[in-house]
């Protein structure tokens, strides 16, 4: 677990998303605030009514969907 790194993306001082970086370069999206996260298609992300949307979506380094909880 020590090799898992978390990071968040802030644009213009507003947090957009939170991610986990896995050791082999895969990325897990865990929180997002807007639909247009890192240029991903909207259909890939689960929709909720809240501003802060929690999810668990695994992508490879090229942005292909691998797994969605």
């Amino acid at each position: 677990m020590k090799n898992i790194t978390r990071f968040s993306v802030e644009r213009l001082n507003h947090e957009e998303s939170q991610w986990i970086l896995l050791p082999d370069g895969k990325l897990v999206l865990i929180v997002y605030f807007k639909k247009d996260v890192a240029g991903l298609k909207n259909s890939l992300l689960p929709a909720t009514n809240t501003m802060r949307k929690e999810c668990f979506v695994v992508f490879d380094r090229n942005g292909n969907l691998l797994y969605q909880l």
Partner: protein, 404 residues
């Protein structure tokens, strides 16, 4: 025959559309020329019957309206006050007595105005300055430091600052580019309960009127509206100040820049000096640690706190070895040797993620105002992972990843 008719109709339509387009183009051009010519106000001094001035201001419990006029009498331009009206609900008895004495609708002679002053003013309104230029205000670091040294504001500005910190603000943070940024930003400033108004109405002999007005709050009150066209011309301010008389609570100070200098000081202090003062604190607290940190990281913010658990350090650092967007947010118990070692190890662990890029880092390259923030707390605390703590993560992800 039918084909010819269609062709004819089609060509005719095309011609009509062409004519319409030309017409629209000519009309737009005329409109533009009209706007430009409206903006260029050319007035000859011999055509002026008089000029009416208004200097007014209101706020909660206070109002003032001062009117004066400038008119030629026996080949001399004389300025006369025509109205003075103070309305102060909460004034002291002394002030009230002054206001009652000054309130008047009688014509009072103020001063003679040189003809050249008026000619210069007419020249300045003939050419519109459509854009604000902070350079035109001619505010340099020396202007601000002189103001901070000599004005009444000096005590307020230097409140709670040590001599060294004041020196930091003056030398490091009052740079020309910072002052430009402050001036540009303060032009968009506004506040409640303050309604200033200035106007010059030039009434010509044929009774045409050129209206020059402003009700902007910030220092210099720019832009002026010359017949509703905006002009950022400071010569209008100079002319107004040259003509107006001397009376209490006038807007003269605001026309000459007013509190802009103190606002620039405040802006530079809040925006730039804060970090410089933090740097100064660290130089005192632990200079060896700070200089080592500075050698490896760009320090965006670094503060220290004393809590029940001892000394804590919190800040944002940008490692020199990582791309500029990548920053590390630190929040740690402070132990200078351990702190540095751990931080450099953490930075090294991040390097590998940037060797092989991924779609998230690539996507945000196009947005300059983006930060990729690595939190440095995951080793100690997994609180952020609470929603997934119930799941057996390793088993769940086994098919798609291999842990080292």
């Amino acid at each position: 025959m039918y084909y010819r008719l269609i062709k004819y109709n089609f060509e005719q339509r095309i011609d009509e559309a062409g004519i319409m387009l030309r017409l629209v183009f000519v009309l737009t051009l005329l409109l533009l020329i009209g706007q430009i010519s409206m903006a260029q106000i050319k007035v000859n001094i011999s055509d002026i019957k008089k000029k009416d001035f208004v200097d007014a201001e209101s706020a909660l419990g206070f109002g003032r309206e001062t009117k004066f006029e400038l008119a030629p009498v026996n080949n001399q331009w004389l300025c006369n006050q025509t109205k003075q009206r103070y309305n102060a609900a909460y004034a002291s008895p002394g002030e009230k007595a002054y206001y009652e004495r000054e309130n008047s609708v009688q014509q009072k002679f103020v001063k003679k105005i040189d003809e050249q002053t008026i000619v210069d003013f007419l020249k300045s309104i003939a050419v519109v300055e459509p854009k604000f230029s902070s350079a035109a205000l001619n505010i340099t670091p020396q202007t601000i430091s002189h103001y901070a040294d000599t004005s009444k504001f000096a005590d307020k500005a230097k409140n709670n600052l040590s001599a060294k910190q004041i020196q930091i603000v003056l030398t490091e943070e009052l740079k020309p580019e910072h002052i430009k940024e402050a001036i540009d930003s303060l032009q968009h400033d506004w506040w409640t309960d303050d309604y200033p108004y200035y106007s010059i109405h030039i009434i010509l002999k044929n009774n045409d009127t050129v209206k020059i007005e402003t009700n902007r709050q910030p220092g210099y009150m720019l832009p002026w509206r010359i017949n509703k066209i905006e002009s950022y011309d400071l010569n209008i301010n100079k002319f107004f100040v040259a003509v107006m008389g001397s009376y209490k609570q006038s807007n003269k100070n605001r026309l000459e820049g007013g509190y802009l200098l103190s606002q620039i000081w405040d802006y530079c202090y809040r925006t730039f000096a804060d970090n410089a003062i933090i740097r100064d604190n660290w130089q005192k607290l632990d200079p060896v640690f700070y200089n080592k940190l500075k050698a490896n990281f760009k320090i965006k913010d670094l503060r220290d706190y004393t809590t029940d658990n001892g000394r804590q350090v919190e800040g944002i650092l940008q490692p020199n070895v990582l791309p500029e967007k990548a920053v590390i947010k630190v929040w740690e118990n402070f132990d200078s040797t351990r702190f540095l070692k751990k931080l450099i190890l953490f930075t090294d662990s991040l390097k590998r993620y940037f060797k092989q890029s991924n779609f998230v880092f690539d996507y945000y390259k196009q947005f300059p105002a983006t930060q990729i923030i690595f939190g440095w707390y995951q080793e100690r605390s997994m609180k952020w992972f609470t929603p997934y703590a119930k799941l057996n993560l390793t088993n769940l992800l086994k098919p798609i990843l291999v842990f080292p």
